[in-house]
Homo-oligomer: 500 residues x 2
């Protein structure tokens, strides 16, 4: 084993820091703030958190856990069930943790993903005691080379008092050189972030910290969890079709070139289907400036449609992972992974003029979007980067199937039960039934389009009836307050939005 | 008269373009899109829109009216009452126009103020047929020198097919040199905006367009409307006091220097009182990076507290206007006026790390803010720049009196009836009763603070009762959907939120 990792710890002075995961977990104290690598189930520290959960079975301890985004390998589940996670920042997607959050057992701070480290470095969040970061290698100078994600790892390591590095022997050495670690200058001397295209490289290929801050190194071998890719179905294919047609129209009107603008796409089966839809489109030389690079990114590259992709993580299905790693040399010059502060930065998002495609849980007839709360109260996953992108993009698109629960829930509602994206930030809404282009329209005009183009025919009359009656009462955004949330309340009481 | 304006039209070839306001208004055709100067009742074109309203009494015509923000001299009222305004973008504050908007007679597109010209130049809004811009002078090369606001005037003039310039002889020639007109580069070559401090000057002191685009010049003399400044009262003084104490704490904790971060403040009596509160504070060498520079900006300069202010308009009371203009030479090197795209640009707002202080119409126990809609339906003024600032600032503060209508309305509610700023974008809430610091807190934790610190004692028990009962039902953001908007519905029915 010792020899196995010598070429992974190239800074000789650090080789004696190698300890067991248990020993490293022993450095964690009750009440600490941990900053852990991991973004959308990619590149999370794996051995130490497991050892921590184990330890918490013997001696109760609670921590604040910050990450990039969601963790793989059921770590959020394991830590939540061991009651280690007292506070969780800024994103998660695990059902067990979700249950604990909705029961009020875990305090969850749901943030725009670009903002966490900004608040950390200005002392507006409690300081990180310990950073735990998965790495491919440590360079000769002590630079930490991340694995399949960057997330918040760089700033965690820079800001933390001490750092534990997990060298993962099964993460490919080919990943070295993939990352572009750029940290914005600190107040009061803040200068422009020099990223001007998805391809821009402006930082170092490793996280640069004083080597003496590395308090422990743990060797691990567990791989990232694979993503489960749902194949496009008739509905997601329709959504992709409507969006492709719309974009063809935009190109025809001269509003954008046939290489479009750089694409951002949220995670999940709909966004995946939309990206797949571009394979058979007339668009070409596409680029991506997004958070997560999924199977579809590589499929688009294989199809000769996409020329470059910038992200903060690579999250793939098992088959795709094997395939990509075998041919990684070919992909590498078309890829870069950045800190999520940069991948999601308002400055860069606005400058690059992204087409931002994100998934809505539900939206209302006036164009407000709920991305997070089921029936206005129960947290699903968190807002993630959707706010970073939707507010500042060139074109903000939200996609959703028009119904859920076998038609018992309409995703188009009179008033959303929770607002994550206001009408000001929503340009285009798409369901399998059609697309509503809301740009330059007043709320009354938006409602007409949303009902006619996006709602399921099964729900259209009821939405129209609500809107008609609200219009009688008047207002810029007509509503019947006593009825606006009644569809959700019915769902809560009866399990369906359908009239009793 | 002819001699009067010769030194104001220094480009000799343009002097023969001078026509009457009626002649200029004759160039406007039914259905046109007009881009007019004017931002928060400062620097609007005055003669041509009046002549247009007059003309519309004889022959019906309707236009889309875009401006920087609200207009002075009752122009929005006059144009609305003459039924000229068919569509209005992106901000207004006139009661007559508001009535027409809420009746559905005028289509109002309520936008983040930084975004209008971005959408215009990419063809996402209908193109501007005619720009009408108030100016101090036209330079030797045909450059248009704006008056007391920049707003969207520069991009309107650049993008419009033709431009009408209103030379206002009563706007001081001293204003020349005050403006910094910088236009971001266009896609696909977008480079960083070089503003790195409130003082940065990165553009030209005039609007640069080909002189042949200036189709007409009108001479006018009417002054800007004065702002009505409400003197601080006991409640707004309390709000200012709570915020000052909080900021002193932030300085003591080392989170910011005693010159704070650059300040942004919305318009209105509360924001004005808050800024006045800084006169007796220990802070010094303050700077401002805001939209509107009001009386308080100059009072802070006079008190030796503020060293520089960047804005998009200067909007003053009558007395202050006289005073400032008399001593304008002394103020000028401490001031700059920019296009609203730059004063409000997400890139610059985040880089400079603003303290953004804006007024809420109401906010809820979880920290969501309504800035625009009375009882969820009726438009007040529009979101203005508050979204540009709140999302990207270092510290996002919202202020409000805790009650309205002699206590019959609580500004702190179970659920806001319209969301303009989501909990993700709201750091600090302040009323006369106290301040809630929501940073790093989960919704349940936020509710405790908001109820205890911000709500009026008259409403505290009812809010707590709602929250307690919602907690029994559970969820990340506990709500009773059937009751969440009942306070607003009661207000609508009975004129008070108080139980029947």
């Amino acid at each position: 084993m010792a020899e196995d990792y010598h070429d992974r710890i190239r800074h000789k002075g650090l080789r004696d820091r190698v300890v067991s995961a248990d020993q490293a977990a022993g450095m964690i104290e009750d009440g600490m703030v941990l900053g852990m690598s991991g973004f959308t189930r990619a590149g999370e520290a794996k051995a130490v958190p497991l050892a921590l959960a184990e330890r918490a079975r013997r001696e109760p301890l609670k921590v604040t856990l910050m990450t990039g985004a969601s963790l793989g390998n059921d770590l959020d589940k394991t830590l939540a069930e061991a009651h280690v996670t007292a506070r969780r920042i800024p994103f998660m997607s695990d059902p067990s943790l979700r249950r604990a959050i909705n029961a009020g057992e875990v305090m969850y701070i749901d943030q725009h993903l670009s903002e966490t480290v900004e608040q950390l470095r200005t002392g507006q969040l409690p300081p990180v005691d310990l950073a735990i970061v998965e790495a491919v290698a440590i360079t000769e100078t002590g630079g930490i080379v991340p694995t399949t994600s960057v997330g918040n790892s760089a700033s965690f390591a820079i800001l933390a008092k001490k750092v534990i590095v997990e060298i993962n022997l099964n993460q490919s050495e080919q990943l070295e050189g993939l990352h572009d670690i750029y940290i914005p200058t600190y107040w009061p001397v803040r200068t422009p972030i020099p990223v001007v295209t998805p391809e821009s490289r402006v930082g170092f290929p490793f996280i640069s910290i004083p080597p003496e801050k590395i308090a422990a190194i743990v060797i691990s071998t567990k791989l990232d969890s694979s993503s489960t890719v749902t194949e496009p179905d008739a509905e997601t294919r329709s959504i992709a079709g409507h969006l492709t047609e719309f974009l063809k129209g935009e190109v025809a009107r001269g509003r954008m070139p046939s290489s479009l603008h750089p694409l951002q796409a949220g995670i999940g089966s709909i966004a995946n289907a939309v990206l797949h839809g571009f394979i058979d489109s007339p668009f070409h030389d596409l680029t991506m400036y997004s958070e997560v690079l999924q199977d579809s990114t590589f499929d688009l590259m294989d199809a000769g449609k996409m020329v470059f992709a910038s992200g903060s993580s690579i999250t793939l299905s098992e088959a795709k992972y094997r395939d990509v790693m075998e041919r990684f040399h070919d992909y590498k010059r078309k890829l870069v992974l950045r800190p999520q502060e940069i991948s999601n930065h308002p400055e860069v998002v606005r400058r690059l003029g992204l087409i931002a495609i994100n998934t809505a849980l539900e939206f209302d007839i006036y164009g407000n979007v709920n991305s997070t709360h089921v029936m206005g109260t129960n947290m699903m996953n968190g807002i993630g980067g959707s706010g970073d992108f939707a507010r500042n993009s060139y074109l903000s698109v939200f996609v959703s199937k028009s119904t859920a629960k076998a038609g018992g829930i309409s995703s188009v509602v009179p008033m959303v039960s929770h607002v994550d994206h206001t009408e000001h930030d929503v340009d285009i809404l798409v369901t399998e039934h059609g697309l509503a282009d809301l740009r330059g329209l007043a709320p009354r005009e938006r409602a007409k389009l949303v009902i006619a183009h996006c709602a399921s025919p099964d729900w259209r009359d009821q939405l129209q009836d609500y809107h008609d009656r609200a219009l009688l009462r008047g207002g810029h955004t007509p509503h019947l307050l006593e009825e606006a949330l009644s569809w959700h309340d019915r769902l809560r009481r009866t399990g369906t939005m359908k009239p009793e």
